[in-house]
Symmetry: C2
Subunit: 398 residues, 2 copies
C-alpha cells in the first residue's frame, strides 16, 4: 500500500523536474531553480518550459508541459498569477505528479485569489497531484541536489549538509533561521516553506520527514494547523520513528493569534491544546529562534539522555548557579555529587565548588586539565545522565 | 556632609594608587595593574611597593607603604594570603583611604580565613578605610584610566568606553559578560567585581554608580544581598537619579540558592521578595546573559519610552507574530493602526500586513524604501511610544 506520505517522494525527491516560466537570467525568480539545479549537480532530468526559448542553459526548452512527452514528477510554476491556473490544469491533465507554485496573489490576498486557489485544489484532488504553495518559497533537498526554490538564501554557495529536516509555514522566517544556522555551520537535510498550504501542509511535511532516512531531527515553525488530527498523526509518526521534533509555535497570545490570522490566514487554536499535544508526543517547544536552532542541532549530534540527572561543570560559579536555576525550573535533577567524590575533587583543588554545580574556579588558568579531570571523576560514577560544561570567554584577539 | 557613597571616590576614582606586591613581570598578578595603569595613561600617582626592587617600570619602588610619605587614596594588595593582614594593618595605620585585596583564601575557604577577614573588617571600620574584596578581581574605571585589577580580560587592548557601570558579585561571570559585550562593541564606564564583600558590597557600588556622571545605566549581577535595606536604598538612589538598573539575579530556585551558598556564601532570600523590590524601583530583571547585555546597552542609547504602545515593523510575518506574542506577554500594547493609516499602507503595497505588526513582506527586496516609508507613515501618527523593526538576514558572504 502506498501511504500518503510516500507519494510526497515525487515532490521532495523527484527524478524529473519541469520549470514552467524558466528564464536564462539566473537573477530572476524563474531563472533561479534551473541555475541552482545545474550548479548543485541535480541528477534527474530537467525540462525548462517557456515558449520564448528553444534552449536555456544548454537544455532543450519546451513551449508547454504537454510537449515534454515524458513522465514529470515535479513541475515548478513561476508565472504571473493570471497565468497560473491554466498551466496548473495542463500539469494535472498531463500526469505531472506534483507541483510547486511560487506565485503569490491567491487566498492570502483577496476573494478572487481564494476562488482560483480552491479551483486548483479541486483539480489537484481529482488528478491526484500534490501541490506545495501557492505563495511559497518552495523547497530544497540538500543531499539530492533538488532545488525547487527561488530563495536567495542559497546564494553562490552549496548549502551545508545536515540532519535537520526543516519545515516552515513562513518563507521569510525559514530563511532567517536557515541563515542564522549557517552562521553557526549548521546545515539541513531539507528546507521546506509551505506558503498557502492549498494541499501539502506542515503536517504532511513532518510525516514525510519522519520517514526520510537523511533526516534525524524535524524542526518546524508553526503558526497554526487547519487540521489538528493530521498534525497529531504526524507527531505520532515522528515519535514512532524516533525522530525528535522541535517546534517554534507562534501565536500564543490573542494579539499574536490575530497577527497570524492576518499573515497566512491561520486559525490558531488554544495554546493549551498545542502544549498538551506537544507534551503527549515529546515535541520540544522552543521559545526563541536561537533555542530552536540550538536544540534541533543538539538532537542531531547527541544521544537523548536516558534520565533527568545532570552534572554541571563550570569555570564560573555564577553561571553554575544560573544553570542550576534553569535546570531546576525544567524539572531536571542537579543531583549532589557523593561525599567521596567531593573529597576527591577537593584533594585536587581545595577551593573548587564540588557539590554540583561543579566549579573549577579561575584556577583552570593555572591547571589546564582541571575541567577534564573533574569531569572524568564525576561522570565515571555513572550517576549522571547528561553533563553540561560551560567555558567562559575572557579574551578576544582582534 | 560627605555621604558614604562619596567616600567611595577614593576607591573608584583615586588620585594616587599604591600597589603592594608590585612586580616588573606584567604577566604576573602583581605586575598587571601597574602595566595596565601605565599603558592606559592613568593620570594620578603610582607607588609600586616591593622590598626587592628599587625601581619598577621606570617608577621608584618603595619597601613599604609607610615609606611613601604621601597620601594614598587606593592601595592594591596582591600578596600571598599569609602576608595580607600585616600589610592591610599598615595601610590602615598610614592613612590609606581605600584598599582592594586580590588575594583569595579568606571567608570563602575556611574558618581561619573567615577570622582573618573579620579582623580586617574591624580594622577597616576603626580607621575608616573602604575595602573591595578580598578574593576579588578588582575594578577598572575606563574614563579615568584606573586599572586596579589583575583580570586578563583587558589584554593588550584599551577597553571600549561606554556608559554602563557594571558591578558583579562574581569575577568570572563579570569577565564573561565583559567579553561578550566587547564582541558586540559595547563598552563600560566601570567594571567592578566585589568578591567576598568584606566591606564594599554590590549595594555600595550601585549607590556609587547612581551618582557617577560617566554612568548612564547600572548593570549588576547579583547572587544575594547580605543587607536588603542597603540594596533597596541603592535602587532608590538610582531611580532618583534617573539611572536605569538592569539586574541578572541568580539563585531563583532552591537548587540555585544552594549553589549560591557554596559559591560566595550568599544567603539568597525569597525570589518573590526580590521581584517585588525590583518592581517597586523599576529595576529590569534579565533572564539570560544576552538579554542582560542587550537591555543595558539599549538603555544607554535610547530614551525610555513614555508609554506602552509599540509599533512592530518586520519583513517577516512570522517574526511579527512572535514579537506580538512577546510584547503582549509583557503587558505592552500592540495597538492596531488606524483604518486611514492601513489604507495608506495598502496603497503602497496591497499585500502588506498593515494592522500592527506591520509586515512589508519580502517585497522589500524590490522596493528598498518600503520599510522606511511604512515607518514614517505609521510613526507620524504620534500614536506609538516605541517601535521595533526586525530585519531578517538572508545572505552571508563568506
Amino acid at each position: 500500500m502506498i501511504t500518503k506520505e510516500m507519494t510526497l517522494d515525487a515532490l521532495f525527491n523527484p527524478s524529473s523536474i519541469a520549470i514552467i516560466g524558466a528564464t536564462p537570467d539566473a537573477k530572476r525568480i524563474g531563472g533561479r531553480p534551473l541555475a541552482y539545479l545545474q550548479k548543485h549537480d541535480y541528477q534527474g532530468s530537467i525540462y525548462p518550459i517557456n515558449p520564448n526559448y528553444d534552449q536555456i542553459a544548454g537544455l532543450k526548452c519546451y513551449s508547454g508541459i504537454a510537449e515534454v512527452g515524458e513522465t514529470i514528477e515535479l513541475a515548478v510554476i513561476s508565472l504571473p498569477r493570471d497565468l497560473v491556473l491554466d498551466e496548473f490544469k495542463k500539469c494535472a491533465e498531463n500526469g505531472v505528479q506534483s507541483v510547486i507554485i511560487f506565485s503569490a496573489g491567491f487566498a492570502e490576498v483577496d476573494d478572487e485569489g481564494r476562488r482560483i486557489q480552491e479551483e486548483m485544489t479541486a483539480i489537484a484532488k481529482k488528478h491526484n497531484v500534490r501541490v506545495l504553495g501557492p505563495n511559497c518559497l518552495g523547497m530544497f533537498n540538500v543531499n539530492k541536489g533538488v532545488y525547487a526554490t527561488f530563495s536567495i538564501i542559497i546564494g553562490d554557495q552549496t548549502p551545508l549538509k545536515g540532519k535537520i529536516g526543516f519545515v516552515s509555514q513562513s518563507g521569510a522566517f525559514g530563511s532567517h533561521v536557515f541563515t542564522l544556522a549557517k552562521q553557526k555551520q549548521i546545515g539541513f537535510s531539507h528546507f521546506i516553506a509551505t506558503g498557502n498550504e492549498s494541499d501539502v501542509d506542515v503536517a504532511d511535511c513532518i510525516a514525510y520527514l519522519a520517514q526520510d532516512k537523511s533526516t534525524k531531527v524535524i524542526a518546524c515553525y508553526i503558526e497554526g494547523a487547519k487540521d489538528g488530527n493530521k498534525l497529531i498523526h504526524a507527531f505520532k509518526l515522528a515519535a514512532d520513528n524516533n525522530k525528535p521534533v522541535v517546534v517554534l509555535k507562534v501565536g500564543t497570545t490573542n494579539v499574536g493569534k490575530q497577527a497570524a490570522l492576518s499573515h497566512t490566514g491561520s486559525l490558531v487554536g488554544s495554546d493549551d491544546v498545542y502544549n498538551a499535544i506537544f507534551e503527549q508526543f515529546g515535541v520540544y517547544r522552543a521559545s526563541t529562534i536561537e533555542e530552536f536552532i540550538g536544540v534541533a542541532y543538539a538532537c542531531t549530534e547527541l544521544p537523548i539522555p536516558k534520565g533527568d540527572r545532570v552534572a554541571v561543570f563550570t569555570v564560573s560559579g555564577g553561571v553554575g548557579i544560573m544553570l542550576a536555576d534553569q535546570l531546576s525550573e525544567q524539572s531536571l535533577s542537579v543531583l549532589e555529587t557523593p561525599q567521596v567524590v567531593q573529597e576527591k575533587l577537593k584533594e585536587i583543588l581545595p577551593i573548587a565548588g564540588v557539590k554540583n554545580p561543579i566549579d573549577t574556579t579561575a584556577q583552570i588558568n593555572s591547571i589546564p586539565t582541571l575541567l577534564e579531570d573533574f569531569m572524568d571523576i564525576v561522570l565515571s560514577t555513572g550517576l549522571y545522565d547528561s553533563a553540561i560544561a560551560f567555558f567562559s570567554i575572557h579574551r578576544i584577539e582582534s
